[in-house]
């Protein structure tokens, strides 16, 4: 009995999917377009965050040891520096670690690995309590024996920190807005699609099909349309972002790493399925209660 119902539902779903190409095209393309936009926005914001994060990271004051300073001597400087009142924390970065990090962030460097030797020295990274004191700390760091060069952020520090906060915040708002928009639009699309099939839904009820049995194929159909749309969006977004990232990396401009794209794609697929499914749920419920006009 339950098996027969399942079988029936599957056959009906296939029937649904084959009929009315217009509805399939409209739903799938709406979901796809929408997820492409949402996806681009999410990726753009992620990139922006990566970038501002990188920028504020650069606000750290970084001291590079001279090549002839032994690691032992270098390590000895860490404790005294930690004691400075302006300094929040100190991290010792071995030249191996620094190199690994470079290669992780820039695949184009990774590809060169065999060709070139690690050019980096050991380093200390100082997180400053208040970015405005960076200049003073930088000067002080230059005096530390063994330190050869110092890199630090500069006077835009404060603005950047504030900007970073604004981006995080507005990213959340925009993502939310855009998610709500997506739900509404897909909902509208599915509802209109069902609107044009309202008589069919009604007749099925008159013939004695239960609501669950009528609804199930529509829900499956909505979910599959959503999934298909999301898959299309993934197929576009993932390679494009990988390409852009590589392009940006070549000029040492960091974007969200490729490893984040797999969960991103999975979330996108999930979003598509959920969008299509929930859109159908609400619409089918509505049309199950609705008595259609028979004319026009």
């Amino acid at each position: 009995m339950i098996l027969a119902a399942l079988d029936f539902i599957c056959r009906e779903t296939v029937l649904h999917l084959k009929r009315e190409r217009l509805i399939a095209i409209a739903t799938v393309s709406t979901v796809a377009v929408l997820l492409i936009v949402l996806g681009s926005i999410v990726l753009f914001l992620a990139d922006l965050k990566t970038w501002t994060g990188w920028m504020t990271d650069q606000l750290e004051v970084c001291g590079f040891f001279a090549k002839d300073t032994t690691r032992e001597d270098a390590l000895k400087t860490v404790d005294p520096i930690s004691a400075w009142s302006e300094v929040e924390s100190v991290r010792f970065v071995t030249k191996e670690e620094g190199w690994e990090r470079q290669k992780r962030d820039y695949p184009s460097i990774a590809r060169l690995e065999d060709a070139i030797d690690n050019p980096l020295p050991d380093a200390v990274q100082l997180k400053i309590r208040d970015p405005e004191q960076s200049a003073r700390v930088a000067k002080r760091l230059e005096q530390v024996p063994g330190i050869e060069a110092v890199r630090w952020g500069g006077s835009l520090a404060q603005s950047l920190v504030r900007f970073n906060r604004a981006v995080n915040w507005s990213g959340l708002v925009v993502s939310l807005l855009v998610a709500v928009a997506g739900i509404l639009i897909v909902h509208n699309t599915v509802r209109l699609a069902l609107h044009s099939r309202r008589r069919e839904v009604y007749i099925m009820q008159l013939v004695g099909a239960t609501r669950a049995l009528i609804a199930a194929p529509f829900l499956l159909e909505g979910m599959l349309h959503g999934l298909l749309g999301a898959a299309l969006a993934c197929c576009l977004l993932v390679p494009v972002h990988m390409y852009l990232r590589d392009l940006a990396a070549r000029s040492f401009f960091p974007l969200t790493p490729d490893s984040a794209l797999l969960p991103f794609a999975l979330y996108l697929l999930l979003a598509g399925a959920v969008l299509g499914f929930t859109g159908s749920v609400f619409s089918v419920r509505r049309y199950l209660r609705h008595k259609p006009e028979w004319h026009g």
């Binding site: 008589r199 004695g208 099909a209 049995l213």
Partner: protein, 233 residues
């Protein structure tokens, strides 16, 4: 014989204010075959719609095989409708092939594939549509669509058959054939109620004739003919 259909002092008022039926009392026993006649717009379809719960009465009680129809919960309506086969006046076919149309109801009520595969061609060939089994309704003539609507009901073998003007688009010979099919279903146990405008059919079959006029039953004869004045006198 227990009553299959029972209306007690039923009045139907449409939202537009039209009173389509007033104070109807009617009993149809199980296994009966009855005609419902009356002028255009005088309430025949409305009476049938009460029985499969497309319309609800403003007052009065409606029973079908013991269920009080207006009180059935929304989730159980499907169970009522499986027991009431309706040939709709507007056909109401699904946008599917003739075969799929007939099979839909059978599948939806959980019949096995073997049974569906046996019953669908039987029903289609009875109304002469087996060679058009893969036609969509829009590729059928109006009369063929009407025959398909009949086949859909016959295949389900419901205990109660309501046919609303089932021969309006059929030539006289086909009309007689359809009525024979309904009669056979009746012999096999189904209660049948047919709303019609065709005097030839009513007069030929000599069954119970219920005459509606302005929403009231003005005549109810056990072996009647089609009244000449339709209660207008």
């Amino acid at each position: 014989m227990p009553a299959c259909v029972e209306l007690k002092d039923v009045t139907v008022v449409y939202p537009s204010g039209v009173t389509a039926l007033s104070n109807i009392d009617l009993t149809i026993d199980e296994g009966e075959f009855a005609f419902l006649v009356g002028p255009t717009g005088h309430g025949k379809s409305t009476l049938l719609k009460l029985l499969y719960r497309e319309e609800l009465p403003a007052r009065g009680r409606v029973f079908v095989s013991g269920w009080e129809v207006p009180r059935i919960s929304a989730s159980r309506v499907a169970h009522l409708r499986r027991r009431v086969g309706v040939v709709f006046q507007e056909f109401r076919l699904l946008p599917r092939t003739a075969w799929e149309s007939v099979a839909f109801g059978l599948h939806a009520t959980g019949r096995s594939y073997r049974e569906v595969l046996r019953r669908v061609p039987d029903a289609l060939s009875e109304v002469g549509l087996l060679d058009k089994a893969d036609h969509h309704p829009s590729a059928l003539s109006a009369g063929e669509q009407q025959s398909l609507a009949v086949a859909r009901v016959l295949a389900m073998r419901p205990p109660l058959i309501l046919a609303d003007e089932p021969t309006g688009n059929l030539d006289p010979a086909s009309s007689r054939h359809i009525m024979q099919l309904l009669e056979r279903a009746n012999r096999e146990g189904a209660t049948v109620l047919v709303a019609t405008h065709d005097p030839a059919i009513v007069n030929a079959m000599r069954r119970r004739v219920i005459v509606l006029h302005h929403g009231r039953i003005v005549q109810d004869e056990p072996e009647g003919g089609y009244p000449d004045d339709l209660g207008r006198a």
